[in-house]
């Protein structure tokens, strides 16, 4: 029961990156995703790398967490590299075996593209590593606010997000409990033929759905009992505030972009 449940991959901390306003982080990452594709020589890649590594080190997140975050995408990075290596036919042939010819352009492209990938994933995982899911939800609600003019249900969307986040640990605990009860009644979740194991999921899923619906109903009733009626005129528990450090980071990031454009070669 006492499983320490970690939602997402948030690593608690008190670094500059942790304390930044989540909106600042999301905006910067949003633009970073675009400018990564503008880099086209060693100098411009260098600027981006310095930026990414600098944010990584200021965040003080232990390297092993970052590496763990990258594990599922290593395959993608390597696959991209190999694909570019074999498919691109530019520059001079530098190696040849069997039916494959490797061109120098392919090698450079392969390195460049997979490096782009690496930078992207590094920076985006830094967001989830230093920001709690609830902060991200708050930031998204705030940033989508202008859409309200077009009748887009921003508050409801954010509420849905935070409720689902809230109930993930609860449902996991419930799953644990029910699977133990059914295992005691002779269900075998771990061994046996695949067909049997798929069948064993039914006694787990049905009670889980029943209790999830019951919970939803109870929550809705509790909210109504306390007079909840949507986001109109509601104040917030966690106020998002742009601090001096956020402005400082934005200016710094502007310099990064300017530097990138200067370092870029136009051909």
């Amino acid at each position: 029961m006492n499983n320490a449940l970690i939602i997402g991959q948030y690593v608690p901390g008190d670094s500059l990156v942790h304390r930044l306003d989540p909106r600042t982080k999301i905006t910067i990452i949003f633009f970073f995703v675009f400018i990564v594709f503008l880099a086209n020589n060693v100098a411009s890649y260098g600027i981006l790398t310095v930026f990414a590594l600098a944010s990584m080190f200021t965040s003080k997140v232990p390297i092993r967490f970052i590496i763990k975050g990258l594990t599922p995408v290593w395959f993608l990075i390597i696959f991209t590299f190999i694909l570019h290596l074999f498919v691109t036919r530019e520059g001079t042939v530098i190696a040849e075996f069997w039916i494959f010819k490797i061109y120098s352009g392919g090698l450079i492209q392969g390195i460049a593209i997979s490096f782009r990938f690496f930078l992207l994933i590094l920076v985006t995982s830094l967001l989830t590593l230093t920001t709690t899911p609830i902060e991200i939800t708050d930031a998204i609600e705030d940033m989508l606010h202008p859409l309200k003019r077009f009748k887009f249900p921003v508050h409801e969307l954010a509420l849905m997000m935070s409720i689902s986040l809230r109930f993930i640990p609860t449902l996991l605990q419930e799953t644990d409990k029910i699977s133990r009860a059914q295992a005691s009644r002779g269900v075998d979740f771990k061994t046996g033929p695949v067909k049997e194991r798929i069948k064993a999921i039914v006694p787990l899923l049905v009670p889980l759905f029943v209790s999830a619906f019951k919970r939803a109903e109870e929550l809705a009733m509790a909210m109504e009992a306390r007079g909840y009626q949507g986001g109109e005129g509601r104040t917030k528990l966690r106020e998002l505030k742009i601090e001096r450090r956020d402005i400082f980071i934005f200016i710094l990031f502007a310099f990064v972009i300017a530097g990138l454009f200067m370092a870029r070669t136009y051909s």
């Binding site: 006492n2 133990r180 009644r185």
Partner: protein
């Protein structure tokens, strides 16, 4: 079946930063055919103890033996199913485990998993339904249409239909009305006696522990705090209060009676009626003097 815990320690998520000792160096013995009440606060390791009784958890250190089955770090059972068919566990709020379309199918689910023949299952259902106090007309209804108390009884019937030798009850009366609580506990007690079961009852109710248990085990922070017969345990009022546990009302009454009237009535697991008779005799004795 006899149950023995020998120096059992259980650590959750060992070798991670979240490692957490739930039970530490716990030893006790439950004799075949007796009732052991386990008492303790939330987080005292009661639930973990239960999971060791049918192999849901295997001790990190030490050894658990249930009848001829032995469970330890180096000795894992090849087939947990056999053990689980002989140890029936009624978890807290067992109605949450119902899932079938009809009550009959849900009760049959356990025995089916343990390969009990169909005709035998039907015979058992017929036998169990009145025993748990449900009408037979309920069998073809959906378990989700029933009241909370009825759902609880169906879930209990599902565990009993396996015909276990050891019955483990984790707060089986939580959330029921007082009358339902008494009915359910009396039913378990009757079954225990009739079928010669070995019962482990986890409870918060000192009254139930006093009334039904042969021995009481008190857990505190994963270790054994006290063990003995109800008389032995409830005598130690101060020690119990030091771990925020109360003695049953009748014991409280006797100690207050002594303070107020200067007559000590030794506690011997008497019922309310017996205490009343003793008091009556004392009063009569005082009058005739």
């Amino acid at each position: 079946m006899d149950i023995t815990f020998k120096n059992v320690t259980y650590i959750y998520q060992q070798n991670t930063p979240f490692a957490h000792k739930a039970i530490e160096d716990l030893s006790f013995h439950v004799e075949s055919g007796s009732i052991l009440a386990v008492i303790g606060h939330t987080g005292s390791g009661k639930s973990t103890l239960i999971q060791h009784l049918n192999g849901l958890s295997v001790p990190t250190e030490g050894e658990v033996s249930i009848g001829e089955y032995r469970l330890s770090k180096d000795h894992k059972l090849k087939d947990m199913k056999e053990l689980r068919s002989r140890v029936g566990v009624v978890f807290q709020y067992p109605e949450h485990q119902l899932f079938e379309e009809t009550v009959a199918k849900d009760i049959a689910f356990g025995p089916q998993n343990f390969d009990v023949p169909e005709s035998e299952i039907n015979r058992r259902i017929k036998e169990i339904i009145p025993a748990v106090g449900l009408p037979e007309s309920i069998l073809e209804r959906s378990p989700f249409d029933l009241s909370g108390g009825q759902m609880r009884r169906v879930a209990i019937a599902g565990v009993l239909a396996v015909k276990p030798d050891v019955l483990v009850l984790d707060e089986p009366t939580a959330g029921l009305d007082p009358r339902g609580q008494k009915e359910i506990m009396d039913m378990f007690y009757k079954l225990h006696k009739e079928q010669g079961l070995t019962t482990v009852l986890v409870t918060h109710s000192m009254e139930d522990a006093l009334k039904y248990a042969d021995r009481i085990l008190i857990l505190n922070k994963g270790t054994k705090f006290m063990e003995g017969t109800p008389e032995e345990v409830f005598e130690q009022k101060e020690a119990l209060q030091s771990v925020q546990l109360d003695v049953p009302e009748s014991v409280q009454f006797l100690s207050k009676f002594e303070k107020r009237f200067g007559h000590a009535i030794p506690f011997q697991k008497q019922s309310v009626e017996e205490i009343a008779q003793t008091i009556q005799q004392i009063i009569k004795g005082a009058e005739s003097r």
